[in-house]
């Protein structure tokens, strides 16, 4: 006896979504991809859209919540399940209900910790020793849906946001491949986050969307906090300050014991040190405005502080 393969509908827009789509396509039959339209005057790559076209998948591009709802009134798909990753448009109740098995979201933290827009940055900023991914059935509230599964990830060394993102995408994919078929087959019953979360810190916390101002280093903060910011903000908004009147972006630093006037550079031999509100940061690498990234030593050799 044969049966029709279960199909899924993928909702996603950003670069993380594109990587997820690439992975998912190997293990699932994707009936359609729903993604944001290319904005007018957009230049460069639009990763999900170009990948979906390359894979020959059916693509829909509603541009907002309203258009998305209208699209589903036309009954465009037959899949029982949707998967949403990094989509960027709010999915309303009627669209969620269109899918008999709901829409699964892979959220990059151990919910209920770090609900909200930027869980990866939040985990690094707070020096969490563990994070992970959560597969959740979305509802109308922000990241409060019932859980299908969680997979933990130990943060054992200081990671930057892109490093952690890459590992969590991989973990998310492994978990989706293992869990979604079991869920479709009826072997998994979704359960509320507060009942089944495996997070060590399992009271709800919220991450917020970063702004450009978050990148301006406040040397009054403790060195440990600024060092985390440097790793968390490395892609965007980047940790910026001025040294000797020059705009620089700090890309790597380590915490050392030293006290001094916060933000006033101290040069010890070939070391560039910036005292903070508590302890100090030894700068390892930095990028002066308009120049390549360089070591602190090279910077000291080329610039007079």
């Amino acid at each position: 006896m044969k049966k029709m393969s279960e199909t899924i509908v993928f909702f996603g827009s950003g670069p993380v979504a594109a990587e997820a789509l690439q992975c998912l396509n190997e293990d699932f039959v994707i009936e359609a991809v729903v993604t944001k339209p290319v904005p007018p005057h957009h230049r460069g790559d639009f990763p999900v859209l170009s990948l979906a076209k390359k894979l020959g998948l059916q693509v829909y591009t509603p541009s907002n919540k309203q258009e998305l709802s209208e699209l589903f009134l036309t009954k465009p798909v037959q899949s029982k399940l949707g998967i949403v990753i990094d989509y960027g448009i709010i999915i309303s109740r009627d669209v969620i209900d269109y899918f008999p098995l709901g829409i699964v979201n892979s959220h990059f933290s151990l919910l209920p910790r770090w609900r909200g827009a930027d869980p990866i940055t939040a985990a690094i900023l707070h020096g969490d020793s563990e994070t992970g991914i959560s597969l959740m059935l979305i509802d109308e509230k922000l990241d409060e849906g019932e859980l299908l599964a969680q997979a933990p990830y130990e943060i054992s060394s200081p990671l930057t946001t892109p490093q952690l993102t890459k590992d969590l995408i991989e973990l998310s994919h492994q978990t989706l491949v293992a869990v979604v078929p079991d869920y479709v087959a009826g072997h998994i019953t979704p359960a509320p986050q507060e009942q089944v979360s495996i997070a060590l810190l399992d009271s709800p916390t919220y991450s917020r969307k970063l702004t450009k101002e978050d990148g301006v280093i406040d040397w009054q903060k403790p060195a440990q906090q600024i060092e985390r910011e440097i790793r968390a903000y490395i892609d965007w908004p980047k940790s910026r300050t001025q040294l000797g009147g020059i705009d620089v972006i700090i890309t790597a630093a380590k915490v050392i014991e030293l006290t001094g006037e916060p933000g006033k550079p101290v040069i010890q031999g070939k070391k560039l040190i910036l005292p903070c509100g508590k302890q100090a940061l030894q700068i390892i690498k930095l990028k002066p405005a308009g120049k390549q990234e360089m070591t602190a030593e090279a910077f000291l050799a080329g610039y007079n502080l």
Partner: protein, 193 residues
């Protein structure tokens, strides 16, 4: 020209599909070989299909009229495929409600049926080592076992729905089902009956 394992699969109107299969007396190396060629045919067939997956298969479908079936261990995960063999399977009892669901057959091309079956079944059979096994199945597995044991007796899923004009579908190339025109495509289709 080299033959693909899937080319051994027979389809309607081959009359062998309407015959009873013979019991296996002793599980010989030939029986194991038969099971291996059934698995090879199914795996090869699956590779040729984008929107379908084989969940079980009977020996008669490669024109070997013996009471042997294989059942996929895992219906939902696409890879890797593993199968369990059941020899001389018989239905001990059917129970539960009658449910309808979609099913197709590698020996009936292009057609899916919305087929009513019992949602619980108990069967007994021999495993590949000749040990008696009893299976209490529910839901989709119950459906699969009933479908395969029907094959042992020359019965096909279309026989269960032959008078139901609403129950016949075809799978389109995009993976969607479309209802067939019963009068035109089903009732007087010489290939089927």
């Amino acid at each position: 020209m080299a033959k693909n394992p899937r080319d051994n699969i027979i389809t309607l109107p081959n009359p062998h599909l309407r015959q009873r299969s013979k019991k296996i007396g002793l599980i010989t190396p030939e029986v194991r070989k038969l099971i291996a060629s059934m698995e090879a045919a199914v795996k090869d067939w699956d590779k040729s299909r984008e929107h379908e997956v084989t969940v079980a298969f009977a020996a008669v479908q490669i024109d070997k009229l013996y009471r042997v079936i294989i059942v996929r261990d895992d219906f939902e995960h696409k890879t890797p495929a593993r199968y369990s063999a059941l020899i001389n399977p018989v239905v001990v009892k059917v129970e539960g409600d009658i449910e309808r669901d979609y099913e197709g057959c590698l020996s009936i091309q292009h057609i899916y049926g919305h087929v009513p079956r019992h949602n619980k079944v108990r069967i007994k059979a021999l495993d590949i080592n000749g040990k008696e096994v009893r299976v209490k199945a529910e839901g989709f597995l119950a459906r699969v076992l009933q479908h395969e044991i029907d094959h042992m007796n020359g019965r096909l899923f279309i026989d269960h729905i032959k008078d139901d004009p609403q129950a016949f579908f075809k799978l389109k190339s995009d993976g969607h089902l479309e209802q067939l025109d019963y009068e035109k495509d089903v009732r007087d289709n010489r290939l089927l009956w």
